[in-house]
């Protein structure tokens, strides 16, 4: 454990984990309030299309992720409606088509071994990030945070009472679109740095736990961010320690630890009576 705080990769992992968790918590609270967990998870998968396309074209991966996700979010909004069930189907159709495209891009690129890229996009690794990613991640996190802060009131209003909000003059369509942009950026940010699996875990897990513990939306957002940071950092510490664990002496994946902690936190919060 001595080398832990001296390790540059660990510094970057802790910093990126902090930024991603802080942004994912509040966005996650709104995502759960709107019943959009499926969309949140889908975007992390759909981002792989942008990821594999940018490998194919040789452009910036994060850029590919963000642009594909914003387009996909717009399509979901366009194809779906306010009714939860048809929105669910719209998300499913967009996700199916996007995964099909990912299969095509990977097929076109088999010569340069993108399977490794898919796996890394899917599972990510917080320890392999260069310190140059940090400013980009910080910038995108700031954009998302500002968007959520600006939209805070109308967004909560239109998430809880869509009809009432519309009657009171809130432009629900515009607010919804703004939210999806925030979701798309937050998810791209987390998926490209820490992987699609962790992205969903940090978006939904801490927020769901926080919403079991408090009903106040603002407090839930802060609590979700705090829980997310705690779970991510604990996961990083465990993953670092696991380097000496059997059977392979090669370190267990961070995502495994963070996800397990997230699930444990949620199950624990279910036991709390309200």
């Amino acid at each position: 454990m001595n080398g832990f705080f001296a390790d540059g990769a660990v510094h970057t992992a802790l910093a990126v984990g902090f930024l991603v968790a802080v942004v994912s918590g509040p966005v996650g609270v709104i995502t759960i309030a709107r019943g959009q967990s499926f969309a949140g998870h889908s975007l992390s998968d759909i981002g792989t299309v942008g990821g594999s396309a940018s490998y194919l074209l040789g452009t910036n991966v994060l850029l590919g992720f963000v642009s594909v996700n914003v387009v996909a979010a717009a399509l979901m909004e366009l194809a779906g409606s306010t009714r939860a069930r048809s929105r669910d189907v719209a998300t499913g159709i967009v996700l199916g088509a996007a995964l099909g495209l990912a299969a095509l891009f990977l097929h076109l690129e088999t010569e340069s071994s993108t399977t490794g890229a898919t796996i890394s996009v899917l599972f990510g690794s917080i320890f392999t990030l260069g310190s140059t990613t940090l400013p980009v991640v910080g910038g995108l996190a700031a954009v998302t945070a500002v968007l959520v802060a600006v939209l805070y009131r109308p967004l909560l209003f239109s998430s809880v009472h869509p009809e009432l909000a519309a009657a009171r003059g809130v432009r629900t369509g515009l607010v919804g679109a703004g939210y999806l942009v925030a979701l798309a950026t937050a998810v791209s940010l987390s998926a490209v740095t820490i992987g699609a699996v962790l992205s969903t875990a940090l978006l939904i897990g801490p927020a769901a736990t926080a919403l079991r513990l408090t009903r106040h939306p603002g407090r839930a957002m802060l609590l979700a961010a705090a829980i997310g940071v705690a779970e991510t950092w604990a996961g990083v510490v465990l993953a670092y320690a696991s380097y000496y664990w059997p059977p392979a002496q090669r370190g267990w994946p961070v995502s495994f630890f963070v996800v397990t902690l997230t699930m444990a936190g949620y199950v624990g919060s279910l036991a709390v009576r309200d």
Partner: protein
């Protein structure tokens, strides 16, 4: 295209399409698209675990998808359903990433299980697919009434002593069976697309349950057959053809019924005026 080697591919894919078409009707009607995505996607982790301990892929996928279905059912009873599904799928995938890390050099098999490797299906795999498909269809026939009731009018279903939570878990277990039959032969992406888009397309055209089931099944089989034929000729991946074909079919029917509905509405308006 129709050689002995390809017979297994046609058989397995058609069986998967028929079962997916029927199951998809309920999945779409109940708003279970997320579970339809989560179970096949998470189940690949079972395959990774199976190779780690030296068990069969089928057993791994089966154990993981049934465990996932039960977890979604149990957690969904206490909290929000989509939250339960999201957390279950990430736990399954994280377990998969652990298995992959513990066992080196796994990438090509992962690709096959996610995106499907339809050509070169063994006869034993076809037999298992057909048996599991038959079991799934029988289970759906037995669940038909409670499923319809609880999708259409949940409150009434509850008062008629059909417990919605039990029905839901039973349906999730059927989806786990469908996953187990499909993932080893066609991959997670393909079965997910087939569960959602044909049934959603059928629902654009009809409200009658029986007709929608039939139409959805016909769509699913047609999409798969066209995809295999095109893939055989052009060497494009089947997963791409099924995924985009299904989405295009849905988009076309959705747009067509929208336009027809608008035309019908304005006609009525004109008559009244």
């Amino acid at each position: 295209m129709f050689t002995a080697l390809m017979t297994n591919t046609w058989l397995a894919a058609s069986a998967v399409a028929v079962v997916a078409g029927v199951t998809g009707f309920f999945a779409v009607g109940r708003g279970s698209s997320f579970a339809a995505h989560a179970l096949p996607n998470g189940a690949f982790a079972g395959a990774a675990g199976a190779t780690l301990v030296g068990a069969s892929t089928l057993l791994g996928v089966g154990v993981f998808s049934v465990a996932g279905a039960l977890a979604i059912g149990a957690l969904g009873r206490r909290g929000r359903h989509d939250v339960a599904t999201a957390l279950t799928v990430v736990v399954m995938l994280a377990a998969g990433s652990l298995f992959i890390t513990l066992k080196t050099a796994y990438a090509p098999e992962v690709y096959a299980l996610l995106f499907g490797q339809l050509f070169g299906v063994s006869s034993a795999a076809v037999t298992v697919t057909l048996i599991l498909g038959g079991v799934s269809l029988i289970a759906l026939a037995l669940l038909y009434r409670p499923l319809l009731w609880s999708s259409a009018v949940p409150d009434v279903a509850a008062t008629r002593s059909m417990r919605p939570a039990v029905t839901e878990t039973a349906f999730l277990v059927v989806m786990a069976l469908v996953t187990t039959m499909a993932v080893p032969v066609v991959g997670a992406l393909l079965i997910f697309s087939l569960l959602v888009s044909p049934a959603a397309a059928a629902r654009c055209l009809t409200d009658r349950p029986g007709v929608a089931v039939g139409l959805g099944t016909v769509f699913a089989v047609a999409i798969v057959w066209v995809a295999i034929a095109v893939s055989f000729v052009t060497a494009l991946p089947v997963g791409f053809l099924v995924g985009s074909g299904g989405a295009l079919l849905y988009a076309a029917l959705y747009a067509a019924t929208r336009l027809a509905g608008r035309a019908g509405a304005s006609r009525r308006h004109y008559r009244r005026g």
